[in-house]
């Protein structure tokens, strides 16, 4: 049994069980639980927003909307379906993709460039231990397996998934021929399957 995160000090327990307990408190409109959840997860979610949207002000707007939705829809969370972090990351990604479409509709920045600084989805030296704990089991497995892909395969797969881009959009961003991107993604997915299937 995981202890309830302490309300009086800043929360540090980022296990899925602790996050699920916070979400359960958010359902009953516990504001401190939302704040604790925000403190624990917003750096991860903000980074995801930046990876999708690149522009800081867009990412800030989307992070805000994502937490408004988490507050409203925490009751829809089912721990049997996904880890809390997976669920919150899905909300953030969906809001970010919606936002990107709206911006394109307004004619703003039709193509957001791939930023090298945001490229690596693999762990770095900078990741603190608490960030590592935050990852769901599934994310850790995926991380290990993504590490086995060649960098450009991983980049193509990540672009396609995180930004919901087509083969040709990925090709345009990475400035390589369409056929090349198709084979990077195909081989990347094959490797992922072999690796993930062995867990």
């Amino acid at each position: 049994m995981t202890a309830l995160p302490d309300d009086t000090t800043s929360p540090t327990d980022t296990t899925p069980q602790a996050l699920a307990l916070l979400l359960a408190r958010v359902v009953s409109h516990d504001e401190r639980a939302l704040r604790a959840l925000y403190d624990l997860t917003s750096p991860k979610l903000f980074a995801l927003a930046l990876r999708i949207l690149v522009k800081r002000e867009w990412a800030e707007e989307v992070l805000q909307e994502a937490f408004v939705n988490i507050w409203r829809y925490a009751g829809d969370y089912r721990d049997s379906l996904a880890a809390p972090m997976t669920w919150m990351a899905a909300i953030l990604r969906n809001r970010a993709l919606d936002y990107l479409r709206q911006q394109k509709a307004y004619g703003a920045a039709a193509e957001t460039p791939w930023s090298d600084a945001l490229d690596e989805i693999l762990p770095t030296q900078d990741d603190g231990p608490s960030e590592r704990v935050l990852l769901s089991q599934e994310a850790r497995r995926l991380e290990v397996c993504l590490a086995q892909l060649e960098a450009r395969q991983r980049q193509a797969v990540a672009l396609a998934y995180l930004r919901d881009q087509s083969h040709s959009e990925v090709a345009a961003v990475l400035k390589v021929p369409l056929g090349t991107v198709k084979s990077w993604i195909r081989r990347g997915l094959e490797k992922l399957k072999t690796c993930l299937g062995s867990w």
Binding site: S42, N94, Q102, A160, S166
Partner: protein, 265 residues
């Protein structure tokens, strides 16, 4: 075509489908086949499960403090800081608006809406033509239902409603694609959201109470999944407390726009 005859093909297509790179006609055909093939659906689901945690990976970046302040403001939080005040003036007391019986009355709704449609229909053709180019953007399902993606290859619109205010100014255009269940809500020029309220969209069935189609996100264009817009002859929008009407079966605030649902074919 029996995809299972080709070793590995189903799995490859399922992977590309879940990743989102299977597009247009291929995506539609694959969905069509998956509908009657449980093995393919299982394959798609396992790929979805494999990929969805990708969003969790990567280094973290601390957001600026303004973001939390904005969240507090949008959700009217801050009771934790206001302390003792909570007991007497808690969120429940402030957030529960009176539920007006008046708005439960369907004949009131219908009478209101018929008058508003005349000019709205005129605005339609122009509006559809104007917005068609970005109806073809790939669509995203709401987060609660997972990372599922649906095709939206052509800008197909099966039903349309222009919602107008009491002065018959068309202010909101709603279009619905029957195949993908995708509803698109576009604010036309002149439509503005009250800053501290939500706008909630309702379907008014022939019989029974209004059905909530969702709280509209802020911004010019909103897309959401709605199962059966064609079941409602009339749509309406009401002003609600942030997050929507406390009564799931009726608006609690004033109705600001209504319009008829019209098939395009």
């Amino acid at each position: 075509m029996d995809l299972h005859r080709y070793p590995g093909l189903v799995d490859r297509l399922a992977a590309e489908y879940a990743l989102g790179v299977l597009r247009a006609g291929s995506r539609r055909r694959f969905e069509q086949i998956a509908r009657s093939d449980a093995a393919i659906r299982v394959s798609i689901e396992s790929w979805r499960a494999r990929l969805q945690s990708m969003a969790e990976l990567g280094a973290a970046t601390t957001p600026p403090p303004e973001v939390w302040l904005a969240i507090e403001q949008r959700l009217d939080l801050g009771d934790a800081r206001r302390g003792a005040q909570v007991a007497t003036d808690g969120p429940a007391a402030r957030r529960a608006p009176p539920v007006s019986r008046w708005f439960d009355n369907l004949s009131f709704w219908r009478g209101w809406s018929i008058a508003a449609t005349a000019i709205a229909v005129l605005a339609l053709a122009i509006a559809i033509g104007h917005f068609a180019p970005f109806a073809s953007a790939p669509q995203q399902q709401v987060a609660q239902q997972g990372a599922q993606q649906e095709p939206q290859v052509d800008s197909q619109v099966d039903y349309v409603a222009t919602l107008a205010d009491k002065d018959a100014h068309a202010l909101v255009l709603v279009t619905w694609n029957k195949q993908t269940s995708e509803m698109t809500v576009r604010r036309l020029s002149g439509a503005s959201d009250p800053s501290d309220k939500s706008v909630q969209l309702w379907g008014l069935p022939k019989q029974g109470h209004p059905v909530s189609l969702g709280v509209l996100p802020r911004g010019a264009t909103a897309r959401m999944k709605v199962a059966s817009v064609n079941d409602f002859p009339v749509l309406a929008a009401s002003i609600e407390p942030i997050g929507g009407s406390p009564n799931p079966n009726a608006p609690s605030g004033p109705v600001i726009y209504t319009g008829k649902v019209i098939p395009t074919a």
